[in-house]
Amino acid sequence: MFNQRKFIRVLLYLAMILVAIAIFAPFYWLIISSISPTSELLSRPPSWFPKHVTFDNYINIFFPKTGVAGAARIFMYTIRNSVIIAGFGTMISLALGSLAAYALARLVFPMRKQIIISILATRMLPAISTLIPLYIIMTKLNLIDTKIGLIILYFTFSIPYVIWIMMGFFGTIPSELEDAARIDGCSRMGSFFKIIIPLSVPGLIATGVIAFMLAWDEFFFALILTNTPNAKTVPVAITEFAGRHLIDYGSMCTGGVLASIPPVLLALIFYRFIVRGLTEGAVKG
């Protein structure tokens, strides 16, 4: 009996090690490829632990010289675009979405249920069914290849999500607190900002981080609606490391590492918030 339990424990630890390898090995290879000299990268079999480490790929991206290829030269612009687009998109969707979520979660008014259902239905629809008209409309409004165009799209796409999660968070705040504030003479807006918002900071963080990551990740619309460094985002720039004839895998992996740093850091720092946001959003969705 004792031996059998010990055996199972060993098996479980082996499984854990396998999981750890599966998580880290591919990402390790991405990082190693970004700091290996080309000669080691293009050897057979590759050197799993680089003998020489070089940061040329990073220098080419951070301080591009004249000879540097297109994608590396514009990469820092696209990082800036992504930060601006995902940042503003997140803030606007949080502001508008949490106002709506407050009304839907805590106020009584006609058509409440119908509004909730139609807002949530938009989460089921593939974004692709809006693409063609949006492309036509944005061309007419001169919003193609602008940051504003993408910001509008990204905050719209995350509004239903923000509403859904924030409704859950607002629902957990006891209504007595709000009633007390109202009796003390607080206006509706006042009690929202002074009571509800401070109590739902964890929810706002969770929702904000996830909305930011989704915007940072978005590729389909960015690919079709941008074409210059004016509004191109990081995911689009990464695909452009592949040239017409050969792919510069070293720089491509460097771009990949740089693009992964913000979302991976956010995920690790806000781990608890994200888990709560994801499970609230998914389990109830």
């Binding site: 479980l12 750890a20 069914s129 036509i136 990464i238 998914a282």
Partner: protein, 304 residues
């Protein structure tokens, strides 16, 4: 006196429902403008012949766009490939996700660390996942070839992404690597909410670990399984980024899933009417799939 006070209060403040409408308005207007209006427009376009190269000429052609697709073999092949992709990747994610969640729930040393570390594959942007695995699978210098060659499993380097069968399955593996963490998170959260007393009672009655899993854990996790199935199936039907980056729909259209097919039809052939019809078909498939899952698994839930 009190009545007067209340009246005064009501007079000064706007009514609750008016306030509610006021703060919902911005979100609703934006969703109407950027999502609902375009969808209706797409629906309209799907019954018309529209080339971007000939703007202004938009003749009504009824169901022709739809009928053309239902008659074309490349459409059905794209649907079949998408179904294959969805079935394999969601299936693997479900099994791996459940297994890993149960493993990390055993309270072994290091499981707290892995719970956080597993966020990494999920957090990496999809496009980066694509280039990373494309590089690993590379025919000339890829790590997969290097590894299998060093281990003596293959005698010469293989062009993995140039062969239809391996290309599709290796893209699926990349997707599974990316999305299994999400499934693990959902299952870990649900397992944490399972009632401990039921397990203790079962143990007292002499149930084995496997019996506990089969008769308690699995049925109680049905809602979580339903969520994973719906969310992930819907997403795999929309898969595009990873295909665009890794194979571009090739080799010989072997990875041309329905969303990629729509992309080509719309933005390579500039056939907006047909593209609209396709995106409507995708939406319909997604909604029907979700409904089937709900209906099918709801019975199971009621059974408990």
């Amino acid at each position: 006196m009190l009545l007067l006070f209340c009246k005064k209060l009501r007079f000064r403040e706007i009514s609750e429902s008016r306030f509610a409408y006021l703060i919902i308005l911005p979100s609703v207007v934006i969703l109407l403008g950027v999502i609902f209006y375009p969808i209706i427009y797409t629906f309209y376009l799907s019954f018309h012949k529209m080339f971007l190269t000939q703007p202004g000429i938009v003749p009504f052609i009824g169901l022709k766009n739809y009928i053309d697709f239902f008659r074309s073999s490349s459409f059905w092949n794209a649907i079949l490939r998408t179904a294959y992709f969805a079935f394999l990747s969601v299936g693997m994610e479900l099994i791996l996700g459940l297994g890993i969640a149960l493993l990390l729930n055993q309270g072994l040393a290091g499981s707290k660390f892995l719970r956080i570390a597993i966020m990494i594959p999920w957090a990496i942007p999809t496009v980066v996942i694509g280039i990373m695995w494309k590089w690993i699978y590379d025919a000339n210098y890829g790590a997969l070839n290097g590894l299998l060659f060093s281990l003596g499993i293959i005698s010469k380097y293989q062009a993995w992404l140039a062969r239809p069968f391996t290309a599709m399955n290796l893209v699926i593996i990349a997707d599974v690597w990316h999305m299994t963490p999400f499934v693990v998170l959902i299952f870990l959260a649900s397992i944490a909410g399972l009632p401990k007393s039921v397990y203790e009672a079962a143990r007292v009655d002499g149930a084995s670990g496997w019996e506990c899993f089969k008769n308690i854990t699995l049925p109680l996790l049905t809602p979580a399984i339903l969520v994973v199935l719906i969310f992930r199936t819907v997403e795999t039907f929309k898969v595009f980024d990873i295909i665009y980056v890794m194979t571009g729909g090739g080799p010989a259209n072997a990875t041309q899933v329905i969303n990629y097919y729509t992309y080509l039809e719309t933005f390579s052939y500039l056939h907006f009417g047909r593209g609209s019809a396709l995106s409507f078909i995708i939406s319909a498939i997604v909604l029907v799939t979700a409904l089937i899952y709900i209906k099918f698994l709801k019975k199971e839930i009621e059974y408990i």
